[in-house]
C-alpha cells in the first residue's frame, strides 16, 4: 500500500458511553484523527456521541451523528466515498460493525480499504474457535473452550471440562453475557442469557486464582514489534479486567516471566498479522511459569488508553500512523521528540488503575464482582511507592474514601465470606480484616490476591497504627510523618489517625498538619513522565507529584501567566465525557488567549489528560490538599472551577479561603447557589417560585410537612444506609417503607422532603453570563415529564412544545438569578413548567451535562464564551439564537442495565444512564429515530408488548397503540392494558403476568421465545418494587436483549417516529450540513 493513495478516511466511533465502552474511545479516536490530520488526509467521523471531544469542530472534517451500524455506515460511505476506513478506534462497536461491513461485501463494493489490522485478523481474534486454532498453529497455549450453539451442548461441554466453568458470549463487549458457573443450575441460567447476545457461546475451564497479565503490543507492516506496557491485575483471574485494580508495570513477575510473556505476545501478533495496536491478555500460574492466552483484542481498548497514559506512549496516534503504512522507525517518540517511536517505555513510577462503580444507584443489583464488567469509570494514580499510588487511587474514585485507611467503619457480617466473594468494597474489606487480626496468609487464601500486594497494603495499615500511637501532633515523629507521606497519606488521614478530630474541626486539623510538615520541609516534588526514566533529556509537560523524591523536574517561573483548569475526575453516573469536553474547550480558549493552560485531572479515559491538550498536565488528585500543593508551585493567574462538574465546584469555597484567585463567578456566589437554605432565601427575595421543601429531623415533622404539601413527595435522606439516595413516595406506606429501609432520620441526619409536581414539564436553561448579565443561552425541553432525572431524560433542543409565555418567563427568571448571583461564566438552571407556572428546581453555577449538546446543536461554543468571560476578555453577544435553527437536536440516554445483573431497569429521580447521544434531524421524528437507534433501540419488526401503567398513562399511550396497529404491528398486552385497549377498540392479544401462574400465554415465555420485538412497560408508580411482575418483565427484556421503554411519553415519541418514517427516509446529513434558516 502506498501512503499517498489515501486522501479521505472514515473513522468509526463507539457511540454512547456504556459500561465496557466508555471515554477511552473518545481519546483513541481523537488521537487517530489528529494523526490523519497531520498527514493532510480528509477525515469523516461517524459517532452519535455528541458530548465527545472527537465530535467537536476541527477534529474531523465531516461528522455524522448517526448510529454506528452497517446500515448507516454504508450510507455514509456511499455519500462520502472514502478510500480508507479505521475500525480499531471505536471499541467493540466499531470493530463489530466493520466485520459486518466486510462480510456483507460493502467495503469491497465501495472499494474502501481497511487501514491497519486486516479484517481477517480481526475475525481470527474474535471467533474463539478460530482464535484457538490460530494459536495452536504456533504452539501457544489458550484456554480451551468449546463453542456451542445450544444449551444442551453447553451442558455437555461443561460436564466434560468439569466445573467450575466460565460461559462467554462470542462477539460481545466487555464480557457481556458471561459468567462463572459452579454447577449445572447456574449454567442453565447464564447460558440462556449469553445466547440472547450471541448465537455462539463458549464454555471453558475456569482458572480462578491465576494471575492476570496484559501486554500492549504494537506492530508495523515491516514486522517490527514492541510491547509498550505490561500490566498486572491486583485481583486474580475471575474478575473482569475492567473490574480489577490494574498495576503497571507488573510487580510480581521475574525477568524471565516478563520476557517469556512479552516474547509470546510478539509471536502471537506476528502470526495473526496485526498492523497497529493490540492487547494480549494472559492467565498466569502463580506457582510456575505456566500460562494461557485469554484473549487478544485486535483494536485499541480500555487497556491501551490506560497504557498510553501510564507510559506517555500515544498508542492510538501511533497505531493510526502505522495503519497509513508508516514503519515504527519513521516515527518519533512524542514525549522526547528526538528519540525513536520504536522503543519500549521505561517507567520510574508505579501506576494503579482503580475502577469506579455506581452500584448504589440501582435497585436489586448484584454487587459481587465477576467475569462481567459493571464499573462505570476508572482512575489512574501515579506514585513512586505502591502505597502512595493505591492510596491516591482510592481517593480519586470519589466515593468518600480517604485512602486505604482513615475511612468510615464498614459493617460486615461475615468477613471471611466478604473476602471470598469480592464486591466493589473489597479493598476496604481487606483493611477491616487487618483490623480484626487476619494475617496476610489468611487473607491471601481467601482472596487469592498476591501476597506482595497484601504486604504493601499492610504497610499502610502499620503506619496508620504507628500514627495512632503517637496520639498527638506535638509528639509526632518527623521520620514517621515523612514515611506516612511517602506512603500516600493525606494530611486528613494523618490528622484522623492522630485523633485530632476529637479536639477540633478536621479541616482545621488538616491545615495544622500541613503547616507543620511544611516547616519540616516535607513537601511533594513534581516529576515528569518522560517514557525513558530520565535516561535522555525530555521537555515533557506530563507531570505528577510524589513524596518519594528530592527535586522537581520542572522549573517554576512565577510569571502569573498560567491558568489552572480543574478536571472532572472519574467518570461516574452523572458526570462523564461531557465535562471532559468542557475542560478541553476551556484549555483551548486559555491557550488561544496567550495564557499557559494547566490541567489537573486523573481519569485515563479522557482527552483532557492527553498531554498535548495543555501546556502542563498534572495527572494527580483533585483533593483540596493536592490542588493547593500544585497551586502553590504553579502560582497561576487564576483557577477555573466551573468546567469540571461537581468536584471542582465543591472545592471553590475552600480554595477561596486560601486566597486562591477563582476566575469567573465568585466562590461566595457558588455557595449561595449550592446551599439549599441560602438559595431558597434568595429566590424568595427576588420573588421566584420553587417547589416547597423542608429539611426535617423527625417523623412527626415529616408527616406534618406532607400534610401541608400533599403526596407525592421527593425524599432525600442525608445519610443513606443502602439503596438509592432519593426516591419519590406517593403515599404514607411508601414513605415509611423507604425511610425505614434506606435511611435514618435524626437530628444529625435530616431528611429533605420536597413537594413533587406531577405531569410537569422539565426545562433546562444552559447559559453564560458576564457580571450578572446573560450573554448567550440555550433553553431545552425534556420529553419525559418531571420525575425522570435530567441526566436520564430525552432532551429536545430547541424546545418543540413550550408555550411562548413559558419561554419568556424562564428567560426572565434566569436573568434575575444571574443578576442576583453576579454570575460570570457558565451556569445551568432546571425548571418545572406546568401550564405557565414556572418553578426553579436547581441551579448550578458551572457548566452542566448538556453544554456540549446545546453548544453543538446551536453551533455556539458556550464554554469558549464562558472561558473568555472568566479571563476577563471582552465578548460579544452571539448574533443568532435558538429560534433561528431549522433543525432539531435530540439528546437520548444510554443505559447499561444489561451489565448490571438483577438491577431493575426503571427510571426515576436518581440517575441511571451511563452515556448519551445527540442526533440532529430536520424534524423531531427524524432526530428521535436517529437518537433512539443510536442508544440501541430497534424498530420492532412485528410485535410489541404493552403494559402501560396507570389509567392516565394508559390513556396517554392510546394513540400510539392505535398507530402501531394501523402500521400492522401485533400488540400483546397484560391484563389491565389489554382490557383498556379492547374497550377502546384497539386490537390486541392478552398475555399473563408471571404471577398469574398456569394461565397462557405467559408474557415471560413469549419473551424467551423471541416472539416479542419490543417491550413498553410503564411502572405504575416511581417506587421500584424489586420482585414485582413488572420487574420480571423488564429484567427479562434486558437479559434477552429486547428493546425496552419504561416511560409513556418517550415510548409515544419513539412509536410516532418509527411509524412516520422508515430507516430509508432518514437523511444522511453531516453536522455541517445542518444550517441556519435562510433569511
Amino acid at each position: 500500500m502506498e501512503r499517498n493513495e489515501i486522501k479521505k478516511v472514515l473513522l468509526l466511533g463507539s457511540g454512547a458511553l456504556k459500561i465496557g465502552e466508555a471515554g477511552e474511545f473518545d481519546y483513541s479516536g481523537s488521537q487517530a484523527l489528529k494523526a490523519l490530520k497531520e498527514e493532510g488526509i480528509q477525515t469523516v467521523l461517524i459517532n452519535p456521541n455528541i458530548a465527545t471531544v472527537q465530535t467537536s469542530e476541527g477534529v474531523a472534517d465531516e461528522i455524522y451523528f448517526l448510529p454506528v451500524t452497517p446500515f448507516f455506515v454504508e450510507k455514509v460511505i456511499a455519500k462520502e466515498r472514502p478510500q480508507g476506513i479505521l475500525l480499531a478506534f471505536g471499541g467493540q462497536t466499531a470493530l463489530n460493525c466493520g466485520v459486518q461491513l466486510f462480510e456483507q461485501g460493502i467495503l469491497e463494493k465501495y472499494n474502501v480499504q481497511v487501514l491497519g489490522t486486516p479484517v481477517q485478523a480481526i475475525i481470527d481474534t474474535e471467533d474463539r474457535e478460530k482464535f484457538v486454532e490460530r494459536l495452536d498453529e504456533i504452539d501457544v497455549k489458550t484456554i480451551k473452550s468449546q463453542a456451542v450453539e445450544n444449551i444442551a451442548d453447553a451442558r455437555q461441554a461443561a460436564k466434560e471440562l468439569g466445573y467450575p466453568v466460565i460461559i462467554r458470549a462470542a462477539y460481545a463487549l466487555g464480557g457481556l453475557g458471561s459468567g462463572f458457573c459452579d454447577n449445572e443450575e447456574e449454567l442453565n441460567k447464564i447460558a440462556e442469557k449469553a445466547f440472547s447476545f450471541s448465537p455462539q457461546v463458549l464454555v471453558e475451564k475456569s482458572l480462578k486464582g491465576w494471575k492476570e497479565i496484559e501486554y500492549e503490543v504494537v506492530r508495523d507492516r515491516f514486522d517490527n514489534c514492541i510491547t509498550v506496557c505490561n500490566m498486572e491485575n491486583f485481583d486474580p483471574l475471575g474478575i473482569h479486567t475492567g473490574e480489577s485494580i490494574v498495576i503497571a508495570p507488573s510487580q510480581t513477575l521475574t525477568n524471565s516471566e516478563y520476557h517469556k510473556l512479552r516474547a509470546l505476545a510478539i509471536k502471537i501478533i506476528r502470526h495473526i498479522g496485526i498492523v497497529g495496536e493490540c492487547n494480549v491478555q494472559y492467565a498466569f500460574d502463580p506457582e510456575s511459569e505456566d500460562y494461557r492466552v485469554i484473549e487478544v483484542n485486535a483494536r485499541l481498548s480500555r487497556s491501551s488508553a490506560l497504557a498510553s497514559k501510564a507510559t506517555g506512549y500515544p498508542l492510538a496516534f501511533v497505531a493510526a500512523k502505522l495503519g497509513l503504512g508508516y514503519g515504527l522507525f519513521d516515527l518519533k517518540n512524542s514525549v522526547t521528540k528526538t528519540t525513536s517511536a520504536f522503543f519500549e517505555p521505561a517507567l520510574d513510577y508505579v501506576v494503579c488503575k482503580i475502577p469506579r462503580w455506581d452500584l448504589g444507584k440501582f435497585h436489586g443489583v448484584d454487587r459481587e464482582l465477576g467475569s462481567s464488567m459493571k464499573s462505570v469509570g476508572e482512575v489512574m494514580a501515579i506514585g513512586r511507592t505502591f502505597e502512595e499510588s493505591i492510596q491516591k487511587g482510592l481517593r480519586m474514585i470519589g466515593q468518600g474514601l480517604h485512602g486505604f485507611v482513615g475511612n468510615k467503619e464498614l459493617n460486615i457480617d461475615d468477613i471471611e465470606d466478604a473476602l471470598r466473594k469480592p464486591t466493589d468494597k473489597r479493598v476496604l474489606v481487606i483493611e477491616k480484616a487487618f483490623r480484626m487480626g487476619y494475617t496476610i496468609d489468611q487473607i491471601h487464601d481467601l482472596t487469592k490476591i498476591d501476597k506482595w500486594f497484601l504486604q504493601k497494603l499492610h504497610n499502610i495499615y502499620t503506619t496508620e497504627r504507628a500514627l495512632h500511637k503517637s496520639r498527638s501532633i506535638n509528639t509526632l515523629d518527623n521520620d514517621l510523618l515523612r514515611k506516612a507521606k511517602i506512603q500516600g497519606f493525606t494530611d486528613f488521614q494523618i490528622a484522623r489517625s492522630l485523633g485530632m478530630e476529637k479536639e477540633m474541626d478536621i479541616e482545621k486539623a488538616q491545615m495544622l498538619i500541613r503547616t507543620m510538615r511544611k516547616t519540616y520541609g516535607i513537601v511533594p516534588v513534581v516529576k515528569q513522565i518522560d517514557t525513558l526514566a530520565a535516561e535522555y533529556p525530555a521537555h515533557t509537560n506530563y507531570l505528577y507529584l510524589t513524596y518519594s523524591g528530592v527535586n522537581h523536574d520542572v522549573k517554576y517561573v512565577g510569571d502569573k501567566k498560567s491558568i489552572v483548569v480543574l478536571g472532572s475526575g472519574a467518570y461516574r453516573i452523572g458526570s462523564s465525557v461531557e465535562f471532559d469536553w468542557c475542560g478541553v474547550q476551556a484549555l483551548k480558549t486559555v491557550r488561544e488567549n496567550g495564557y499557559r493552560s494547566v490541567m489537573i485531572n486523573y481519569n485515563p479515559e479522557t482527552v483532557s489528560t492527553d498531554y498535548d491538550m495543555c501546556d502542563r498536565l498534572y495527572f494527580d488528585e483533585l483533593t483540596f490538599e493536592r490542588v493547593m500543593d500544585i497551586l502553590e508551585l504553579e502560582n497561576p493567574h487564576g483557577v477555573i472551577v466551573s468546567t469540571g462538574g461537581q468536584i471542582p465546584n465543591n472545592l471553590a469555597m475552600r480554595l477561596d479561603e486560601q486566597k486562591v484567585h477563582i476566575l469567573g463567578t465568585s466562590a461566595q456566589s457558588i455557595d449561595n447557589a449550592e446551599d439549599r437554605d441560602k438559595f431558597s432565601a434568595m429566590l424568595d427575595r427576588i420573588g421566584v417560585d420553587q417547589p416547597r421543601w423542608s429539611a426535617l429531623t423527625s417523623m412527626e415533622d415529616v408527616n406534618a410537612f406532607i400534610e401541608e404539601v400533599g403526596f407525592p413527595v421527593l425524599v432525600r435522606p442525608s445519610y443513606v444506609l443502602s439503596g438509592a439516595a432519593m426516591n419519590v413516595c406517593s403515599n404514607q406506606e411508601e414513605l415509611e417503607r423507604f425511610l425505614k429501609l434506606a435511611a435514618n432520620v435524626s437530628k444529625k441526619h435530616p431528611v429533605v422532603i420536597s413537594q413533587f409536581i406531577e405531569h410537569a414539564k422539565e426545562v433546562e436553561m444552559d447559559a453564560v453570563a458576564q457580571n450578572g448579565e446573560i450573554i448567550a443561552y440555550a433553553i431545552s425541553e425534556h420529553i419525559e415529564y418531571a420525575g425522570v432525572h435530567s441526566g436520564d431524560a430525552t432532551i429536545q433542543f430547541p424546545p418543540q412544545k413550550l408555550y411562548v409565555e413559558t419561554v419568556r418567563r424562564i428567560k426572565k427568571i434566569s436573568k434575575q438569578i444571574a443578576k442576583a448571583l453576579k454570575i460570570s461564566g457558565p451556569f445551568n438552571i432546571q425548571y418545572l413548567a406546568r401550564e405557565n407556572d414556572i418553578k426553579v428546581i436547581e441551579c448550578n453555577l458551572r457548566a452542566s451535562r448538556s453544554f456540549p449538546f446545546v453548544s453543538k446543536v446551536l453551533k455556539i461554543n458556550l464554554i469558549d464564551l464562558a472561558t473568555k468571560v472568566m479571563l476577563g476578555l471582552p465578548v460579544e453577544k452571539p448574533k443568532k439564537n435558538l429560534f433561528d435553527l431549522d433543525y432539531v437536536g435530540i439528546k437520548a440516554s444510554q443505559f447499561s442495565f444489561n451489565r448490571l445483573q438483577k438491577s431493575d431497569p426503571v427510571l426515576g429521580v436518581d440517575m441511571a444512564s451511563t452515556g448519551e447521544v445527540g442526533c440532529l434531524g430536520d424534524d423531531v421524528n427524524c432526530a428521535i429515530l436517529k437518537s433512539m437507534l443510536s442508544v440501541g433501540q430497534r424498530i420492532p419488526e412485528k410485535s410489541v408488548l404493552l403494559s402501560t401503567g396507570t389509567a392516565k398513562q394508559k390513556a396517554s399511550m392510546l394513540n400510539a397503540a392505535r398507530l402501531l396497529v394501523s402500521k400492522g404491528y401485533k400488540l400483546y398486552a397484560t391484563g389491565g392494558t389489554s382490557k383498556y385497549l379492547t374497550e377502546n377498540e384497539v386490537e390486541n392479544t392478552m398475555v399473563y403476568w408471571p404471577s398469574e401462574e398456569g394461565m397462557q400465554p405467559q408474557a415471560l415465555d413469549m419473551l424467551h421465545n423471541h416472539e416479542i420485538d419490543m417491550v413498553v412497560n410503564i411502572p405504575k408508580n416511581l417506587t421500584a418494587g424489586e420482585l414485582t411482575n413488572g420487574y420480571k418483565i423488564r429484567r427479562a427484556a434486558i437479559d434477552l436483549n429486547i428493546p425496552l421503554i419504561t416511560n409513556a411519553r418517550l415510548a409515544t415519541a419513539f412509536i410516532n417516529a418509527f411509524c412516520s418514517m422508515t430507516l430509508d427516509d432518514i437523511a444522511i446529513k453531516s453536522w455541517r450540513e445542518y444550517g441556519l434558516t435562510e433569511e
Binding site: 510480581t252 524471565s256 530520565a534
Partner: protein, 358 residues
C-alpha cells in the same frame, strides 16, 4: 536500618538507608532503567566496580531464587557465580517479597554476599545528575561512621582481568563444532545460548592466545570497563582475523568493541551510557528494528573502521554504533545483548546465525 549518604564526585549528596550489607563502598555510579531483573544484573560481571542505581523504584518484589548450579557448572538462574556490582541503589526496597521461585529476600542475599544495598534514594534525580555530568565516581558512607570513607578507582582499572576465568573451561565436550569463547566477563546466558545450540564451548581467559587451539568459531563475550585496558585480547583477535583459514566470529558488547579495535576502530566513552532494556537498534540498510538489552558506557566510533568493515546495527536514539560486520568474511558483533538475561529476547536469533556459519 542505618542511615547512609551517597556522595558523588561532584559533591551531590543523596540520603537513604542501608538494607544490604553494612559496609561503606566506592565505585563508578551507573544507572539502569530496566524495570525488572535485579538478580541477573547484580551477577552480570559487566557491573564489576560499579554502584548500580535502578530507576524503577520498587525493587525486591519477587525476592531472589536459590543459587544452584546445573550439571555443567553454570548457575541455574544467575548470570555468574556471585554479585559483581559493588552496591545496589534503589528508591523503595520491598522488605517483603512474594514469588514461588524465591528462596530469600534481596536483602538477605546482599548480606550473604557482603554487598551494600541502599534505599530511599531519588534514583530519578540521581540519573538526571549522572546524565548531565556523565558517569561519576561515588561512595556510600554510613552516617554514624562519617570518618570511614571508602576509596576506589574505576578508569584505568582492568576489571576484565578481575572477572575473567583463570583456566580454560570446556562445556559439552565432544560436540561436532567447537567454539572458543573469550571470557572478558561472560554472562551465563551467553554460555546457555551457545550450548542450547549443540556446540562445544571452550571458555578461555580474556588474555589467552586461543589461536593455537583447535576450534571452528570464535565468540567474544561481554565484560566490564574500558576496552582499552584489554590490549592482549585485541592482539589475539587480530591474529585470528589474519589467519588464512577464515572461521566465523561473533562478539557481544565488550566483544563488539574488541573486534572493532582489532578492525582498526577507536573507542570513546558515551556521554549517556546505554543501560536499559529498551534500546532500539536498526539493522543498517533494512527496515528491521529490534528492542535490545544494553549495558555499556563505551562505544565504537564506526567512522574509524577500516575499509573492509561496516557498521551492522545503529542505535535509533543517538545513532551510536550497535554492531559491525566484515564485508566479506563471517565476522560480526553486536554492542547490545542478544542473550538478554535480563531484558528482551528479540535478537537471540544472532546465535542461530552464528552457529549456522560454523
Amino acid at each position: 536500618m542505618r542511615k547512609v549518604t551517597l556522595i558523588l564526585d561532584d559533591g551531590t549528596q543523596f540520603h537513604g538507608e542501608s538494607f544490604g550489607y553494612d559496609k561503606p563502598v566506592a565505585g563508578e555510579v551507573v544507572f539502569n532503567t530496566a524495570m525488572m531483573g535485579y538478580p541477573e544484573s547484580l551477577t552480570d560481571p559487566s557491573y564489576a566496580g560499579q554502584l548500580m542505581a535502578l530507576t524503577y523504584p520498587l525493587v525486591g518484589n519477587y525476592g531472589v531464587p536459590a543459587f544452584s548450579l546445573e550439571e555443567n557448572g553454570i548457575p541455574t538462574f544467575m548470570e555468574s557465580s556471585r554479585i559483581w556490582a559493588e552496591a545496589i541503589i534503589v528508591s523503595d526496597y520491598s522488605t517483603e517479597f512474594s514469588h514461588w521461585n524465591a528462596k530469600e529476600s534481596l536483602a538477605d542475599w546482599l548480606k550473604r554476599e557482603q554487598v551494600p544495598g541502599i534505599t530511599g534514594i531519588d534514583t530519578r534525580e540521581l540519573t538526571k545528575v549522572l546524565r548531565e555530568h556523565g558517569v561519576m565516581m561515588g561512595k556510600i558512607v554510613f552516617d554514624d561512621e562519617p570518618e570511614n570513607i571508602p576509596y576506589a578507582n574505576y578508569s584505568g582499572v582492568n576489571f576484565v582481568d578481575k572477572v575473567s576465568c583463570k583456566e580454560i573451561i570446556r562445556y559439552n565436550e565432544g560436540a561436532e563444532k567447537k567454539v572458543v569463547l573469550v571470557d572478558c566477563g561472560v554472562k551465563a546466558n551467553i554460555l546457555r545460548c551457545l550450548l542450547k545450540r549443540g556446540v562445544e564451548v571452550i571458555r578461555v581467559p580474556w588474555n589467552y592466545d586461543f589461536n593455537e587451539l583447535e576450534f571452528d568459531g570464535l565468540f567474544l563475550a561481554n565484560g566490564p570497563g574500558d576496552p582499552d585496558t584489554c590490549e592482549d585480547a585485541v592482539v589475539n583477535i587480530r591474529k585470528f582475523l589474519a589467519n588464512p583459514v577464515v572461521r566465523p566470529c561473533m562478539g557481544i558488547c565488550m566483544g563488539n568493541q574488541l573486534l572493532s579495535k582489532a578492525a582498526g576502530a577507536t573507542i570513546y566513552k558515551l556521554k549517556y551510557g546505554h543501560r536499559s532494556h529498551n534500546q532500539p537498534v536498526r539493522m543498517i540498510g533494512t527496515n528491521k528494528c529490534f528492542i535490545t538489552s544494553q549495558n555499556h558506557g563505551y562505544a565504537v566510533d564506526d567512522e574509524t573502521l577500516s575499509a573492509d568493515w561496516e557498521p551492522l546495527f545503529v542505535n535509533m536514539n543517538d545513532n551510536s554504533n550497535e554492531g559491525i560486520r566484515h564485508k566479506v568474511n563471517p565476522w560480526f558483533s553486536a554492542q547490545f545483548h542478544p542473550e538478554a538475561a535480563s531484558g528482551p529476547v528479540d535478537t537471540e536469533f544472532l546465535f542461530d546465525d552464528f552457529v549456522k556459519l560454523l
